[in-house]
Amino acid sequence: MPQPPASGPEPIVVQSLSKTFKVPEERTHTLKERALHPMRRSSHQSFSALKDISFGVRRGEFFGIAGRNGSGKSTLLKCLAGIYGVDQGKIWMNGRLSPFIELGVGFNPDLAARDNVVLNGIMMGLSPREARARYDAVIDFAELREFEELKLKNYSSGMHVRLAFSVAIQVDAEILLVDEVLAVGDASFQQKCFDVFNKMRDSGRTIVFVTHDMGSLNRFCHRALLLEKGEMVHLGEPHEVADRYLEINFGRDPEAAAKRVEEGRGGDGEARIVDAWVQDEHGERSTTLAQGQRVTVKALVNFLVDVEDPAAGLYILNEDHVAIVVATSSTEHERSGRFKAGESALFSFSFENVLGPRRYNPLFTLAHRGSGLDLMDRFEGAFSFVVTGPDATGGLVDLPVEVGIERSAATSAQELAL
């Protein structure tokens, strides 16, 4: 539950909000069907889009709502915006609310910029006079002065977005609700959006922002809420939410995993890899691992016949099936010894986690001594793990890099090269 406000009401308070949609099983779409079967009860299933959501947003806060597709985040935003009615619970909004949740809604492609700007302004709550007065500012900000007579259908998508955004920022609302605004536009436009939002936030406006992009969540939000299947999973710091999000997103179904393992099997079957997992630095099994920790990947092997000097291999593949880490036990333990039928052995690979924040699929092999190609077993797809880190550099791995800057007066490039 949110903290009661210290001074003045919080701009947004949501208390035990639930929202249920009725999904008819057979939709009677016509009066005819209704008239022919007046007695037929229209059966429908209830779909709980939101369950018992409670939170508050503070003034001047950039609040993120994250979740997968279908998690209910857009439904929540529409409830906040007053587009969907509330079934249970209550929502308080204190402050003038911007009524749009998407850029350029209501633009008419057959009209020129002016009519669209004025109509959009009125939709956002401006009076026609105010909307007309701001037209010049809008068109200048969008840098569309030379195209103002053009019908919107002749605009490029970039021009369209620029115009929509320029109108949107003219709104005088104290609370802004924004749905995936960054899904549109190129990187520079997205940056422009966020610059404006940051400025708005600094002037005391409250911004609620729905996304499934954890990068922007981390960069811009003060706090965030994570939804999964309509329920609140986490409310707190954006990086915590991002971690949980990745965990949920890449969490896997154990049965499906077992099936994949069977399909991926190979080798002569003289030994079986029974289980494989990843441990964090506390020795706990985990599927979410923070960067910088010590990671251990382990595999439990059962020998079915007597085997001499087996070698285990580990390949950690990223989502593009590129092996980022490859290790084999034969490097250090070529003569691993003789294992009798029925014996078990635990192979482990330990390393400093410098992997970039992404999902990884480890692949284990167990081979006879030699080239490593004479396989006894192959263990793939059983599990995956996600690496999280607050500062993704975008590199495949984030090695500890030492950066130095030496100031040297008037040294030319040639001199440095010498």
């Binding site: 406000p5 009615g85 308080w92 909004m93 209501g106």
Partner: protein, 303 residues
């Protein structure tokens, strides 16, 4: 949210938050925005039609004129309807054009409203605004067209030797009744179409029936002549009179075109009998509003 549930809830844990928000509604507290939205949506649509094509205005006026031309040639020139010496047939041409234009408004406001909410799905699902704006802007658009067409009727009337009369002042009242009746149906249709998609063809047929069941082509006096005798005919005549468009068009002709024709009161057999069509207009509007208002909170979910 009803006031009962608010009262039944335990005390709100937050001080000074005021009332919780309610979902989307048909109406609003911000009437200025309501009007500006309605007006500007209608205005933009009008502009599109008017300036959208090279012959914008001409097309707008041509439609009723063409229909008028066909009907006039057929009924006056070929079958000689306007030449019987019946007072109902005086100034038949002006009456015909006027009724076509009035019915045109009715058809546009209702027929245009059917798909209106569904077609503006994008707005309904993305913006919070009073839902009633949508059917009302359609009616307003039809009203703009009516105003233009009435200018044509005026010119035609003056050419046809209709002299300006004091009773022309009744026009706002007549139009108000027509607007109330049309918007009532428009609201009902717009709300129903969200659930029942076959409303559109049904309404097209029904609208066509109403066209012939109104004194557009055949003057009400001629209808009465045929239906005056016989019990079954009498019932038919009564049903005919239930159509508020009969009263509206009849009074329009009497007050605007020619005093020699029967007024609505005379046609109905006394002014008191006009309460029947007036009641139907009021009922239509009330039911239309009630249905729309009830569907407004959930319309975004049902689209």
């Amino acid at each position: 949210m009803s006031t009962e549930t608010i009262a039944a809830e335990p005390a709100v844990p937050y001080e000074g938050l005021g009332r919780p928000i309610h979902g989307p509604r048909a109406l609003t507290d911000d009437w200025a925005r309501f009007w500006h939205l309605t007006y500007n949506i209608a205005r933009n649509e009008f502009k599109l039609k008017f300036f959208g094509s090279a012959l914008g205005y001409v097309w707008q006026v041509m439609r009723p004129l063409l229909l008028f031309g066909v009907l006039y040639v057929f009924f006056v020139v070929i079958s000689g309807a306007g030449k019987g010496g019946n007072p109902g047939e005086a100034a038949y041409g002006v009456q015909l054009l006027g009724s076509i234009v009035l019915f045109g408004f009715f058809g546009e406001a209702t027929g245009g409203a059917v798909r209106s909410v569904v077609d503006r799905e994008n707005l309904v699902r993305k913006i919070q605004f009073p839902r009633l704006v949508i059917p009302l802007s359609i009616a307003l658009l039809a009203l703009f067209n009516l105003a233009m067409n009435l200018v044509v009727v005026l010119v035609f009337a003056l050419i046809s030797d209709v002299t300006p009369m004091l009773s022309w002042l009744e026009l706002p009242l007549i139009l108000t009744l027509l607007i109330l009746f049309s918007t009532g149906i428009a609201m009902w249709l717009a709300a129903m179409f969200v659930k029942f998609r076959d409303i559109q063809p049904i309404w097209e047929v029904f609208s066509q029936i109403l066209f012939y069941a109104s004194p557009v082509i055949i003057p009400a006096e001629s209808v009465r002549e045929k239906l005056e005798h016989g019990e079954f005919h009498h019932i038919l005549w009564h049903v005919y009179l239930l159509n508020p468009l009969v009263a509206i068009f009849q009074q329009f002709r009497h007050a605007m075109v020619n005093h020699a024709t029967l007024s609505a009161g005379q046609l109905y057999g006394g002014w008191a009998y006009l309460l029947e069509p007036l009641g139907i207009i009021a009922l239509t509007f009330a039911i239309g509003f009630w249905v729309f208002n009830r569907s407004a909170p959930s319309v975004a979910e049902n689209l």
